[in-house]
């Protein structure tokens, strides 16, 4: 997605400036990974989530070498060695993304143990998803829950195993996590928390997941959705400086002249990136860098506004409690709405919203601006339209 985006910028802003070759190990163009869930659930087809296909690239004069793996890079000679031959370059962009993390428990290589990362994973799941068949999804984060929902929509009996004590613990607090769990269960998805996987049992293929507490969950497939790891081995082998990923500066330059990187495969100021918004920012910055326009990547306060399997939720900033932090909490159990705002020294620093995300963007803006919200405390939850003193007169203060 990052590659597609940066090429879009480049071919629009400087159409004839570069002769471009695009390698993709996947045998297809660029598609929106975020939309794999509806493909899994059957609501969309692959064709509907393609953003830049071979034709699109052809029209822009981009040479596509899809399905071809890059084997090595010679940064001195400025040559890329691929499965079907070399290409020399003036500028090289690495957008190698990430790979799903497979928990290395016994049995993780058994057939039937799948990741959920790309269209091929999705197709494998679809072909395994027969009504009445059983799936175990390891990982109760966003990806895992999307996988679970898709498989459930295809008629499978689904159990989500989550290592932590509530779902989506990086985006949600325990209370919102509990609401989300209930909503999963209402959809017929079993959720087991504090579930540490001991092994995946099976003779020739995965047959059950065994937990450390001894519980055994029989299954036909296991989907690993416990996280991603940046893919930077190619860069590292080429001698490009890497930490937890490829190290870049604010112009997306690696430490090797002429080599750039962006997306999930980079590390900037110690941070990794997994969401689409910073990735698009990086694409813009890199296109500007290559066309000589001054720009710099500035990481933004990350907010997650998601619809997870039909449940609206929003999470931004730092929502951990503690000394000096104050909370505004709204609970409407019958409407299944939960909102929690965290304030520090009169400023909004974090927010979690479950169920009704109206006004969430405004809250996100307040967090980013870091301005004092003391005078708005009573009405923050209700969004921007409930602010200010317009229409509030003395008779609003007392009968």
């Amino acid at each position: 997605m990052a590659a597609g985006r940066v090429l879009e910028h480049l071919t629009e802003e400087a159409p004839d400036r570069f002769e471009i070759t695009l390698f993709n190990a996947e045998p297809r163009g660029t598609y929106n990974r975020i939309m794999l869930s509806p493909v899994l659930s059957g609501e969309k087809t692959y064709e509907q989530i393609v953003t830049h296909d071979a034709d699109w690239y052809a029209r822009r004069g981009v040479t596509c070498r899809f399905g071809e793996r890059v084997l090595s890079i010679d940064t001195q000679a400025r040559v890329v060695e691929a499965e079907h031959g070399q290409v020399s370059y003036d500028r090289l962009i690495l957008a190698t993304g990430s790979a799903p993390f497979i928990v290395p428990v016994p049995g993780h290589r058994l057939p039937g143990v799948l990741a959920y990362r790309d269209l091929d994973d999705t197709d494998r799941m679809i072909s395994a998803a027969r009504p009445g068949a059983r799936a175990v999804v390891i990982g109760g984060g966003l990806l895992g829950l999307e996988a679970a929902a898709g498989l459930r929509a295809r008629g499978m009996a689904v159990t989500v195993l989550h290592l932590m004590d509530h779902l989506m613990e990086r985006q949600l607090d325990p209370e919102a996590g509990a609401l989300l769990k209930e909503d999963q269960e209402r959809k017929g998805i079993d959720v087991i928390l504090d579930a540490a996987t001991e092994e995946i049992a099976g003779k020739t293929r995965a047959e059950a997941v065994v937990l450390k507490d001894g519980r055994e969950i029989p299954c036909d497939i296991v989907v690993m959705a416990v996280g991603i790891r940046p893919s930077f081995q190619l860069a590292q082998t080429a001698g490009i400086a890497c930490g937890r990923a490829i190290t870049v500066d604010a112009q997306m330059r690696t430490q090797v002249p002429g080599v750039y990187a962006l997306g999930e495969c980079v590390e900037f100021n110690g941070a990794l990136f997994g969401l689409v918004a910073p990735l698009y920012d990086q694409a813009r910055v890199l296109a500007h860098e290559l066309t000589g326009v001054a720009d710099a990547f500035v990481p933004r306060e990350l907010a997650t506004k998601l619809k997870v399997t039909g449940c609206d939720l929003f999470s931004a900033g730092d929502f951990t409690g503690g000394d000096g932090r104050e909370e505004i909490v709204f609970r409407d159990p019958s409407a299944r709405i939960y909102k929690r705002l965290v304030l520090e020294r009169g400023r909004l620093i974090g927010a979690i919203i479950y169920g009704d995300v109206t006004g969430a963007n405004w809250l996100h803006q307040l967090i980013q601006e870091g301005r004092d919200v003391s005078t708005m405390r009573e009405t923050l939850i209700f969004g921007p339209d409930a602010q200010g003193t317009d229409g509030l007169s003395r008779s609003s203060l007392a009968a």
Partner: protein
């Protein structure tokens, strides 16, 4: 379930066999439609239940227990007009709060038990401790016939003059002043004088709010003949709007002002030497007047001179005076200072010319005529006069009547408190709220051996203290006569069936009389029979030369009584109606009037470092007395839904009292908590609070708990408008506002509740917040099971809760560390308020907040009016009326509409560009 029976009520002394006494006394259920509601709708003429204007009303029962109310175009008092309170009478006839069966020691019973107990206890107490160990405390809301029987029972048969009335709190100083000046308690003028006058002086009268229909007559006269209006009042009231001259004198300094007027008129040669021949006491009076120092009024000399000039140049002057004059330790002297000026100029009893006292109660005048006060006998006959006593004794057929006055209200409750009075019967009044030093009075009643309360509801501060509760028929159900402020006797007629076991007061009193052994004296079959006896007794008074003579009505048969049109007394063989005293004939023994030398003296309580504020009390436009009736009407509650304290902006700033903060008032007598209304309507050093709120509606705001029990030495009337207090900001930890579909049991150190169209609204505040708001709210609303949505900010101390039952919104509570800032006038429309926006406390853009109700008749809010003025460019009260209907019915709100116009015009002049966000700390509505 309580419902009105459409048939005749069941008479009889059978005990009520209900197993659940409570169900007869209180029931929150609405009236069901009756099956037989197809009977023809009949309209009946009657008289309004409220103030002393005595407006005629046309009542049309809807057959379902409800009542349509219109002004009677034929009644001379109002000619079809009604004020907001009168217009809303139909909203107050429900039975939800009615007392429907006698209650003895908390248990419902029948009349036989209850009245036998009352008769026995009074008889035993008299036998054991003497007649003065019993007392009746009655009310200007009694009909004349009820009043007559009460007075006869006390003075003729119980043998005590200990019958006093809440008129003592209202009119006693006028009674005393008129008797001193005229030798009789007689209002010389008629309402028509308001139309005939060239100058109207309002003294201590907020006529625009307290006697709105008279004020509308004044405004109409002014429009027609450019009548000049002077308002003498320390406070800027709605009546000051458009006055030619406003004299904001120091509280209690009226005597000095009218003494100066008398002296200047004398020096200017404006006195009437011919008329003065009909008077005594001029020289001493003038000398005293010239001795007074006008500076105590604090008025500017040019204003005083302007006042004198207006008086001198306008022969036709009517001085209207009310509670600002009467409720004073110098009340009688104030009345005489005014009467002195009218007598010395001969400006009395002539068209458009004379003093006009206006009374606060529908039948205060009837009570005075009957003689139902401790220092009167009957029909203007004198207790101290042996011939009068003998005549009355013979007429009533009793052994003796007391020779000395009984205890006046304040002394009466002192005697209740120290045990001298051991049996007390309170009828249609609420002394535990309305008496000065009200907490002490409440404790006195609580401690009394035997307390009987007759009322239409058990939910009053006084009724809650009763040993015996007697259920009375209410306005609309009872029949009799009332006398208004200009001596017009009008019929109140029954149009609704008496509910439950209720009975008229005269019937209760007469039955107790019979059971005490006086069968013949109280053998009344109807109120018409009582009226005939009363009219006959007035004929005896007439033969003694008394002016109150309605013997011309003594021959009325039932049909004649029922058909009696409004008639102004006297009605005798020699005279009917008219004005008094223009002929120089007065009722002292020598036939002359008295000018009474009076000297200014300050209010008894002195402000000082400890109690630096002077507390004024009074009425508001849409409530009446202790609200037992008006509080039932949602539209009346919407005008001012909470007790408040008017305080000057600079005083508020000095005390750190902000917009809508709560204030604590402390006096040597007690404490009250009220909402601050920061306004320069009051002068610095003065504060004003309404008198209406009670233990039922706002238990921390019983204003008479802080009023000192100081009285006028002549009239015995309490000084209700000049106590001294300390004011401080309530250090509340939390403020709350709730709206509920059902009744609420509020929490907090302060609360005030009012009805809404669909339920109740409550303001609250407390020194310490409950540990858990959900628990507290569930208790408050009685909603143990309802679903709740909660917004909580524990660190800030705020919370918002909404409760639903079966998906339907039933209650909402807002809690804040400061005054709760939500759109109340929008939220009280709950449950119509859209659920989603509810807890934000804000109206959505497509449903703008109407603002606090200004026009109660058409339910038009302040914001609606302001928006219309601004967007449609309205420039007059009449244009507002055309656009929104506001002010086009009763007219009570017209002064407020004019003030809103002025505000918009002023803002436009001062700030051509409207600020987009008016700062809440600027009291934009401070002058409302």
């Amino acid at each position: 379930m309580v419902q009105r029976k459409n048939g005749a009520k069941e008479e009889g002394d059978d005990a009520d066999k209900s197993d659940d006494p409570e169900c007869r006394v209180m029931d929150g259920a609405p009236l069901p439609a009756l099956a037989d509601d197809a009977e023809p709708r009949v309209t009946v003429k009657s008289t309004c239940a409220y103030c002393g204007v005595g407006c005629g009303v046309l009542l049309t029962p809807d057959g379902k227990g409800g009542l349509e109310v219109r002004g009677d175009p034929d009644h001379p008092a109002n000619r079809g007009r009604l004020c907001s309170k009168g217009s809303a009478l139909g909203e107050t006839v429900g039975l939800a709060h009615r007392l429907l069966a006698p209650v003895v020691n908390g248990r419902a019973t029948g009349w036989d038990d209850a009245l036998q107990l009352v008769a026995d206890r009074f008889r035993e107490t008299i036998a054991e401790h003497g007649p003065d160990a019993v007392a009746l405390y009655v009310s200007g809301q009694l009909l004349t016939e009820d009043y007559y029987v009460a007075n006869k029972l006390a003075k003729g048969f119980m043998g005590t003059a200990n019958i006093d009335t809440n008129s003592r709190l209202c009119m006693a100083s006028t009674v005393a002043g008129q008797r001193r000046a005229f030798g009789t308690d007689t209002v010389p003028q008629t309402y028509e004088d308001l139309e005939e006058a060239d100058l109207i002086v309002l003294v201590g009268s907020n006529m625009a709010w307290c006697h709105p229909v008279l004020y509308q007559r004044v405004l109409a006269a002014r429009a027609a003949r450019r009548t000049k209006i002077v308002v003498v009042d320390p406070r800027r009231t709605a009546s000051c709007d458009g006055a030619d001259l406003r004299l904001a004198l120091e509280p209690g300094s009226d005597v000095a002002l009218f003494n100066r007027l008398l002296a200047d008129l004398y020096e200017g040669g404006a006195l009437d030497a011919t008329f003065l021949r009909h008077t005594e006491g001029f020289d001493e009076t003038l000398a005293q007047a010239m001795n007074d120092d006008i500076s105590v009024t604090g008025l500017a000399e040019e204003d005083v001179q302007a006042f004198v000039r207006l008086w001198r140049d306008n022969e036709k002057v009517v001085t209207v005076f009310s509670q600002g004059v009467n409720q004073s330790s110098a009340g009688s002297d104030k009345v005489n200072a005014i009467l002195n000026c009218h007598l010395a100029t001969g400006r009395i009893g002539k068209p458009g010319c004379g003093p006009l006292s206006v009374t606060g109660q529908p039948n205060a005048m009837g009570g005075r005529e009957v003689g139902g006060l401790a220092n009167m006998l009957a029909c203007h006959l004198d207790l101290e006069n042996a011939d009068h006593r003998a005549a009355v004794r013979d007429f009533w057929g009793c052994d003796r009547v007391p020779e000395a006055p009984g205890l006046k209200a304040v002394d009466m409750f002192r005697a209740v408190g120290d045990g001298r009075i051991k049996a007390l019967w309170v009828i249609h009044t609420n002394p535990a709220v309305s008496m000065p030093d009200a907490d002490a009075v409440r404790e006195a009643i609580r401690g009394c051996d035997f307390v009987v309360v007759s009322d239409v509801t058990a939910a009053t501060d006084t009724a809650r203290l009763a040993d015996v509760l007697l259920p009375a028929t209410a306005w609309g159900e009872k029949s009799g006569t009332v006398t208004n402020s200009d001596r017009t006797i009008s019929r109140q007629r029954a149009v609704l069936p008496a509910p439950g076991l209720t009975r008229p007061d005269w019937a209760q009193l007469a039955e107790v009389g019979r059971r005490m052994g006086f069968k013949n004296a109280f053998d009344y079959a109807s109120e018409a029979e009582i009226f005939r006896e009363y009219a006959a007794l007035s004929g005896i008074a007439g033969r003694f030369g008394k002016d109150f003579d309605i013997s011309g009505l003594a021959g009325l048969d039932r049909a004649g009584y029922d058909a009696l049109p409004p008639v102004r007394w006297p009605v005798s063989a020699t005279r009917t109606g008219g004005r008094f005293f223009a002929d120089g004939q007065f009722y002292h023994a020598d036939g002359k009037a008295r000018l009474v030398p009076v000297a200014w003296r300050p209010p008894v309580a002195k402000v000082g470092p400890r109690y630096p504020f002077r507390l004024n009390t009074g009425r508001i436009r849409d409530q009446w007395h202790t609200m037992t009736r008006t509080a039932l009407s949602p539209r009346l509650a919407a005008h001012l839904a909470e007790p408040f304290l008017e305080i000057h902006p600079e005083d508020a700033a000095d005390l750190g009292i902000g917009l809508a903060d709560l204030c604590v008032l402390d006096s040597p007598q007690g404490r009250a908590i009220l909402r601050a209304r920061i306004t320069d309507d009051v002068l610095r050093g003065q504060v004003f609070a309404p008198m209406h709120w009670t233990g039922e509606t706002a238990p921390a705001a019983r204003i008479d708990a802080v009023v000192a029990p100081v009285v006028d030495p002549v009239s015995g009337q309490p000084e209700s408008k000049a106590s001294v207090v300390k004011v401080s900001r309530m250090q509340a930890a939390w403020y709350g506002f709730a709206v509920s579909a059902r009744n609420v049991t509020p929490t907090g150190d302060y609360w005030a509740r009012a009805v809404t169209k669909a339920g109740h609204r409550v303001e609250m505040a407390g020194y310490a917040a409950p540990p858990n708001w959900e628990t507290a709210a569930r208790e408050m609303f009685g909603l143990a099971q309802a679903e709740v949505s909660i917004l909580e900010d524990r660190a800030a101390g705020s919370a918002r809760l909404a409760f639903r039952e079966a998906g339907r919104l039933v209650a909402v509570l807002f809690v804040s560390p400061g005054p709760v800032a939500v759109m109340r006038d929008y939220l009280v429309q709950m449950p119509e308020v859209p659920d989603l926006t509810l807890l934000s406390g804000r109206a959505p853009a497509d449903r703008p907040d109407p603002g606090v109700v200004v026009c109660a008749c058409f339910d038009v809010g302040m914001n609606t009016i302001l928006r219309a003025i601004e967007s449609d460019g309205l420039v007059s009260v009449d244009e507002i009326g055309k656009a929104l209907q506001a002010g086009t019915n009763c007219g009570s709100c017209r002064p407020e509409l004019a003030a809103l116009l002025t505000r918009v015009q002023t803002q436009t002049e001062q700030t051509p560009v409207r600020p987009t966000s008016p700062n809440l700390t600027q009291p934009k509505e401070a002058a409302e």
